[in-house]
């Protein structure tokens, strides 16, 4: 008992103390929890902000068209280029990105563009066309002639993650000040003064809204809107609002106003385009007006700002009247806030909305080419960086070449056999650049990229390597050498025999080497390959830049090697460049988002075939087009356009190939089926037609190689390959290496008589020995 009071007296302060420590503990707990919660929010907002800020896909541009007097380009060719680059026709052609045409004159205004090697300002031009060329190029204001202008290139795609969110990154410095003024005046007047949230802003917005009788201002700051944009669930609970406010303050503590504003400008949701959401002012400017942001007039800027409040409600395409009213309201606010002069705002209010009529896609889809660009870049960049760093990629795609290649496929395949697939590679020869790529019969479909991935037997496309191996031994072979086209059986060493046949199953006895290639006879090619040695042939293939087996069979001479159309383009590029190999490029340069050059892919070159044998082979490849299996292209090609090339057909018509070139353009076309069934087409009846269409549309210079010093033209007797005189029957001029012209001569007149008496084979023996 006596203890009790004592205990009580002791326990009261203890309880008080305990209560205190409970309180303290509780407070601490709240503080710790609160701090942890804030820290968690901080982490959230930071990772979102950094992520959003940098998650800008790489933008890929086509090659810019270089305009200069004398350029081989028709007026319609220019208009096609302009269309691909998203230019539109407008009276006067005085706004950047517009053109106007009057007869053979076109007036246009380019858009300012930051190239990898510097920025070029917008400029007005008048072009005069005649005879398929740009006759003159002038500045319409001064009348001065202009040497050279780059037309700002088409945007051909973005390297983005699968999420269909698109962006065209803008930098704060390139955003018109009037647009920023309008944005702040309408959305957040106190942006530069508040700390993320703005109680007085909320109050002011309320008053302004009451005064206007409708909602003209929102209460949230830009920072809050940005935070809201990060977490796109739209529920408006109190907790959410609280979180938003805390995060807005955290954002302000961590980043400066410029960062926040720039991120907002690139992040804000402005429109929905099917499955693609349009974020940021840069893309919105492109999407609604087909122009870069810094080229917009103030009424256009005001319209974009107007849409933020309700991207769907104020969509100018769907609800033009509503959008116009809100735009004018924004213009009023701009004038009130001193962002623009009152009379400028008044004039702007009178303007029509001027959004692109129907949703016109200035971007054509180029899935096959974009695939090539990505593979090229992945050698140097990580995928994540390509998808998020806002890199600018300057590619080599020529939109008009691409369109003509696609058109050629469409025209020739039409609605025929649905299973027949196609691939096309087009090169701009001298630069070693890929100008177009078609990966299938539906070029817009981003599926199996046959131009890169369909490795198929190349058939007779290999033969030039066989003949080149022979022509590199000029003491043994020349274009007029007589080859044996009689039945051939080859033992493979395991008791099996192989008897190659010509396409037409005929045997011609003796044929000149040049004709054997031009008409693509198989038997002489196999014999020749046997004679020069399989290793000499595979060695050539390797020098031309492609892999070849260490041990090849005689059938290698007929094209058992499997290559993709792109690899074939690599082989033939060497022929077209007269013995110089140039690694093919699809990208010229890459810059970071701010335009700093990161990497340039240079032109490089290497002589891999000597000029003399190369010239001889190319003569034979020209003969293919004049007299041989490629001759039907002549009906399609422009008059006087000299070309060289080779057809290829594989067993059972599984693959139809053509590879060939003019002086400036190389094309490789493959036709076949994915299931490897027969197509019923030869190289000549299938691929050649598409090739001829595509090359006709683009080639300007014919293929006319300069004859090297060591080569001289010689008159050869067609039947015997011996030398003869020009006046004789059956004489034919062929280039020979000067040190290796044939020794034997034939006499005209006598030859004729002998020819009546016997076959060519006999003659060859008489004169050859």
């Amino acid at each position: 008992m006596p203890r009790k009071p004592a205990r009580q007296s002791r326990s009261r302060p203890r309880r008080r103390r305990r209560l205190g420590s409970w309180l303290l503990g509780g407070l601490l707990l709240v503080l710790v929890t609160g701090a942890a919660y804030v820290a968690w929010l901080d982490y959230q907002v930071r990772s979102q902000f950094e992520g959003k800020r940098w998650s800008v896909p790489a933008t890929v541009y086509a090659r810019p068209l270089e305009l200069y007097p004398g350029l081989a380009l028709s007026r319609d060719g220019l208009l096609a280029e302009l269309d691909a680059a998203g230019y539109r026709s407008a009276a006067g052609g005085q706004e950047p990105g517009t053109w106007a045409q009057e007869g053979d004159r076109v007036r246009l205004t380019t858009r300012a563009f930051a190239y990898w090697d510097g920025r070029e300002p917008a400029r007005a031009l008048v072009l005069h066309f005649a005879d398929g060329r740009v006759q003159s190029l002038r500045d319409p204001d001064s009348g001065e002639p202009v040497d050279l202008v780059r037309l700002d290139p088409a945007t051909i795609g973005a390297i983005a993650p699968t999420r269909r969110e698109d962006r065209l990154l803008v930098q704060l410095d390139h955003v018109p000040v009037t647009l920023i003024g309008a944005l702040l005046a309408v959305e957040d007047r106190r942006f530069h003064r508040h700390f993320g949230i703005s109680p007085s802003g909320i109050a002011r917005a309320a008053i302004a809204n009451i005064r206007a009788g409708r909602i003209v201002q929102g209460g949230s700051t830009l920072t809050q809107q940005l935070v809201k944009n990060f977490f796109l669930t739209g529920d408006q609970t109190f907790t959410r609002k609280l979180n938003e406010a805390i995060m807005a303050v955290l954002l302000e503590l961590r980043y400066d106003k410029r960062d926040i504003l720039e991120t907002y400008l690139n992040e804000v949701f402005i429109a929905q385009d099917g499955d693609r959401s349009v974020h940021g002012f840069g893309l919105a400017a492109q999407y609604f007006f087909g122009e870069p942001l810094d080229a917009l007039r103030i009424d256009q800027q005001a319209l974009l700002v107007a849409m933020i409040k309700g991207p769907s409600y104020y969509n100018p395409r769907r609800n033009p009247e509503r959008a116009r009213q809100r735009r004018n309201l924004v213009l009023e606010v701009m004038a009130d806030g001193g962002v623009v002069q009152e009379d400028a705002a008044r004039a702007a209010r009178q303007r029509p909305l001027d959004v692109l009529e129907q949703r016109r896609r200035p971007r054509h889809d180029y899935p096959a080419f974009m695939d090539l660009v990505q593979r090229h870049l992945q050698r140097d960049y990580r995928r994540e960086d390509l998808q998020s760093e806002g890199l600018r990629v300057f590619s080599t795609l020529a939109p008009t070449v691409q369109h003509s290649a696609e058109e050629a496929v469409r025209r020739r395949l039409g609605n025929g056999d649905e299973a027949l697939e196609a691939a096309v590679v087009m090169l701009d020869l001298d630069a070693g650049e890929v100008s177009a790529l078609v990966g299938g019969r539906d070029p817009g479909f981003a599926g199996f990229n046959r131009a890169l991935d369909a490795r198929r037997p190349i058939g007779s496309l290999i033969k030039p390597a066989v003949y080149l191996a022979a022509l590199e031994q000029p003491s043994a072979w020349g274009l007029g050498s007589v080859l044996d086209d009689s039945p051939l059986r080859i033992e493979d060493g395991q008791g099996e025999t192989w008897a190659p046949r010509n396409f037409d199953a005929e045997f011609r006895g003796d044929v000149l080497l040049v004709d054997a290639l031009a008409h693509s006879y198989n038997i002489p090619a196999v014999r020749l390959g046997q004679d020069v040695g399989v290793n000499a042939v595979t060695n050539i293939v390797r020098r031309l830049g492609q892999d070849a087996p260490r041990r090849a069979y005689p059938s290698y001479m007929l094209g058992t090697a499997e290559l993709s159309p792109m690899e074939v383009a690599g082989l033939y590029q060497v022929f077209a460049s007269q013995g110089f190999r140039t690694p093919l490029r699809s990208v010229r340069a890459v810059t970071d988002a701010s335009g700093e050059p990161l990497k340039r892919y240079r032109l490089s070159t290497e002589r891999v075939v000597d000029p003399e044998p190369m010239y001889l082979l190319n003569h034979a490849l020209g003969e293919v087009m004049r007299e041989g299996t490629g001759r039907h292209a002549g009906a399609t090609l422009p008059a006087g356009m000299t070309v060289a090339g080779k057809t290829g057909t594989t067993n059972d018509y599984r693959d139809s190939w053509f590879a060939g070139f003019s002086g400036d353009t190389l094309g490789v076309v493959w036709l076949g089926r994915d299931d490897n069934a027969g197509t019923g087409l030869t190289g000549a009846s299938g691929a050649l037609g598409i090739w001829a269409d595509a090359v006709s549309a683009n080639a300007v210079r014919g293929f006319q190689p300069v004859r090297p010093d060591g080569v001289t033209p010689v008159w050869i007797d067609e039947d015997t390959g011996a030398r003869t005189h020009e006046a004789c029957n059956g004489s034919r001029e062929l280039p020979y290496m000067a040190d290796h012209v044939p020794d034997e001569w034939t006499e005209c007149g006598r030859r004729r008589a002998d020819d009546d008496g016997g076959g060519g084979g006999l003659l060859q023996r008489w004169f050859g020995d």
């Binding site: 270089e66 200069y68 007097p69 004398g70 350029l71 081989a72 090697d117 060329r133 002639p145 040497d147 050279l148 701009d428 020869l429 001298d430 630069a431 007269q578 013995g579 110089f580 340069a589 050059p597 340039r600 240079r602 032109l603 490089s604 070159t605 290497e606 002589r607 000029p611 400036d664 300069v706």
Partner: protein
């Protein structure tokens, strides 16, 4: 031996400087004409006749400036741009060879000079200069036999077309 080698290097270096001084990024035919009044092989057609000549001229002069500033990357890019307009211009290939030489890329210097040769036709002076580049590039890659061979090609052209 080592000293010999070193002095040879110095000699080559001096030759290169001379080469660089006179040939770099200039239309050789013009310069050659200025040097001597004697009639000689016709230089390439007058610029005004070629399509894009003014454009090429401008790019070439910008490239010359960039090269003189030591900005080889830009000089090379400008010449590549010009080559897309005039791909058969032996002078452009030659100048690109010099840019590559200047930045120490001797392999490409030789290859580009070879390419220039393939377009040079009867322009003896330009041919000679290409062989000069090939000679010094080979020398820098320690291919002394190759350098000597190229040197004698260059000297041969000197006798035929020069003086």
């Amino acid at each position: 031996m080592i000293r010999n080698r070193l002095s040879l290097h110095l000699l080559v270096f001096a030759a290169v400087m001379v080469l660089a001084g006179c040939a770099v990024l200039e239309e050789p035919s013009e310069e050659a004409e200025a040097r001597e009044a004697e009639p000689r092989e016709e230089p390439a057609p007058a610029p005004a006749e070629e399509p894009g000549a003014a454009a090429v001229e401008r790019l070439m002069s910008e490239a010359r400036d960039a090269s003189d500033d030591g900005d080889h990357e830009r000089a090379g890019a400008l010449l590549e741009r010009a080559l897309r307009i005039a791909p058969e211009s032996a002078v452009l290939w030659h100048n690109l060879a010099i840019v590559r030489y200047r930045e120490g890329n001797h392999d490409q210097a030789e290859q580009l000079a070879q390419r220039s040769l393939s377009h040079a036709g009867g322009n003896t002076e330009l041919r000679r200069r290409n062989w000069e580049i090939i000679a010094v590039s080979r020398h820098m890659r320690d291919d002394d036999d190759g350098a000597a061979a190229a040197r004698s090609r260059a000297d041969g052209l000197q006798e035929v077309g020069g003086e």
